[in-house]
Symmetry: C2
Subunit: 348 residues, 2 copies
């Protein structure tokens, strides 16, 4: 196993959480992979409702659920004692437990003893797999698109998922590749790139999007941004290892500074494009920007079309709100790249 | 403790190694910190001689040695059984053991049990300290110089040590800051930056060169290079966290490709300068290149002056062989920066 892999189908565990902002993982799963979510389980009557059937552990096991996914964050980041009886019951029923909590499942003495006894796995999606090599930089067959950002938390994961969906609907051979814990839980596999040891970041990115058929697109979830004072190293390593042929810049309309680092203004989108090409060209000289994805949540509905049109005029690239639509012009340019690449590989 | 710290004075342990290329750490210590090396200990008659007095463990302990430093690499990277009796004797005599081996000292059952019993430390210089934060990007007082490279293993550590020595001799308030295991062993403290988890690389670099008096120079040992397909993420994170005011580009004359990645030509020095400024300016807008350090080991002695003069004419910067001399022009420009900075901090 070279990347983290989960075992579907899932029961989404929501703990005793009532505030939906703490249930992003569960909500993401229900939105993007509903076919793999057989049910939900909340410990409280007025808990979060993802619109899935409510199942007990016994019912879930009976219906073929293979993994319980902890779909909420707890205050403090650990496993509250009030969750334990349910998690232990799931382990005893042979379910794997999946979590992205800070203190790992594996370090919990009761859970790890129970999992050993039951012969089932505890999957900590923040813990990278062992044996990640240093990146080779060698070109791999197949095509890759990376979502990059003007900051953290601007919609890189959402954009990549929306692109995968639109590409598959348009007949592309495309697959989302998760580089963060929520993405890994949504898609069932991936690489927690920000938890990898420094020397191996680009090697981890190479594992995440392995060689594939010439017409295949990996749509890689980006992390951080190249101008981030804290996280730019992660973004750099992911970019070099992903070797993207195409990238989409993700931006939140109205954001002016790096969130949490208010002394640092956001780089203009044109500068982000320039920096991404400068670094990305080291491992893929033909890298190019194919579009701008805008998180428009701070804009009024009637401001959105003007905002996108002005940006499009300024940058000469398709600009879009991924909640609304993936523009045909972007899909067309990816299609043209697919044709060129498959023709080149067929004659080489 | 925020960075790794060793306890001098030292006994340099050379194992049963006979080939000096495997004793770089020991040789570096004897060269750069002779006053802290009370002796050497080899297990074989025709072993490596660093020119230090030969001491048994008992003699070393008697003379006040506090740490045994493993100054050689073993074949395989671990602790050979033939070394164990001596290391255990050192632990029992209360010495700390320091190593940069791949399989850690702490994971060796006999050594770790003996160290616990004797109440002494095993120091693995590849293991970063706990609790490294994400970088803040906030400007710290004091001045910083970083050695960057056109590749790995071109003389970044050597150049930084030679700069520290020349600066101190010229009356600067300067200190070498080690970012790799050999440098940490030589200087007795530092941060193994390539072993830090991705999210914390720049934070680790911030810890390595903390706030200091306005006239103080940290001379930070660089790692990798910004165009390296495997290690650029480490170089990027170290550059952003170090926030250097000045940098020196290190290059090996005659090297044409990234060593071990032969598909990747070296970037020209001018491009390395440009990329270093572009990234470094994110956290320090006044960053600038102050010189080029050339490893001339592949050149004939009579080729060296011409090579350096041509480079100097091309780049308009002091170009030097750090084995020979640190140019006065470089020291002068650092002195001018010191004056400007201390004057600015005095009036602010």
């Amino acid at each position: 196993m070279k990347v983290i892999e989960l075992t579907p189908p899932y029961l989404i565990f929501l703990g005793d959480v009532k505030d939906p902002t703490y249930a992003k993982t569960g909500a993401g799963l229900a939105q993007w992979r509903p076919e793999q979510c057989l049910g939900q389980l909340s410990l409280v009557d007025d808990g979060i409702d993802l619109g899935l059937p409510t199942l007990s552990i016994a019912e879930a096991a009976e219906q073929g659920v293979r993994s319980l996914i902890i779909g909420t964050a707890s205050i403090g980041g650990g496993i509250p004692d009030s969750w334990l009886p349910t998690l232990l019951q799931a382990v005893e029923a042979g379910l794997e437990i999946v979590a992205g909590v800070h203190s790992t499942l594996a370090s919990h003495p009761l859970l790890s003893a129970a999992a050993r006894a039951a012969g089932t796995r505890l999957v900590d999606v923040r813990v990278p797999p062992a044996g990640i090599p240093v990146a080779t930089g060698k070109k791999r067959s197949g095509l890759r698109l990376l979502t990059v950002g003007t900051d953290c938390a601007v919609g890189k994961k959402y954009t990549a998922l929306a692109l995968e969906r639109a590409m598959c609907e348009a007949g592309f051979n495309a697959r989302f590749r998760a580089s963060g814990q929520t993405g890994i839980m949504i898609t069932g596999e991936g690489m927690p790139i920000d938890s990898v040891v420094a020397d191996f970041i680009s090697g981890a990115a190479e594992l995440l999007s392995p060689a594939n058929s010439p017409d295949h697109w990996d749509v890689v979830e980006g992390q951080g941004c190249l101008t981030h004072p804290g996280y730019a190293a992660v973004s750099t390593g992911l970019l070099l290892g992903s070797q993207p042929d195409a990238f989409v810049v993700c931006h939140e309309a109205g954001r002016t500074h790096i969130s949490g680092w208010e002394d640092f203004p956001l780089a203009p989108i044109a500068e982000v494009i320039e920096r991404t090409v400068a670094v990305g060209a080291i491992t893929n000289p033909t890298i190019r920007c194919v579009g701008i994805s805008v998180n428009t949540s701070r804009l009024a509905a009637d401001e959105i079309p003007d905002y996108l049109q002005e940006l499009e005029a300024e940058l000469g690239l398709p600009c879009f709100d991924p909640l609304r639509e993936i523009p045909q012009a972007l899909l067309d340019s990816l299609q043209a790249m697919t044709v060129t690449t498959t023709a080149k590989e067929a004659t080489s």
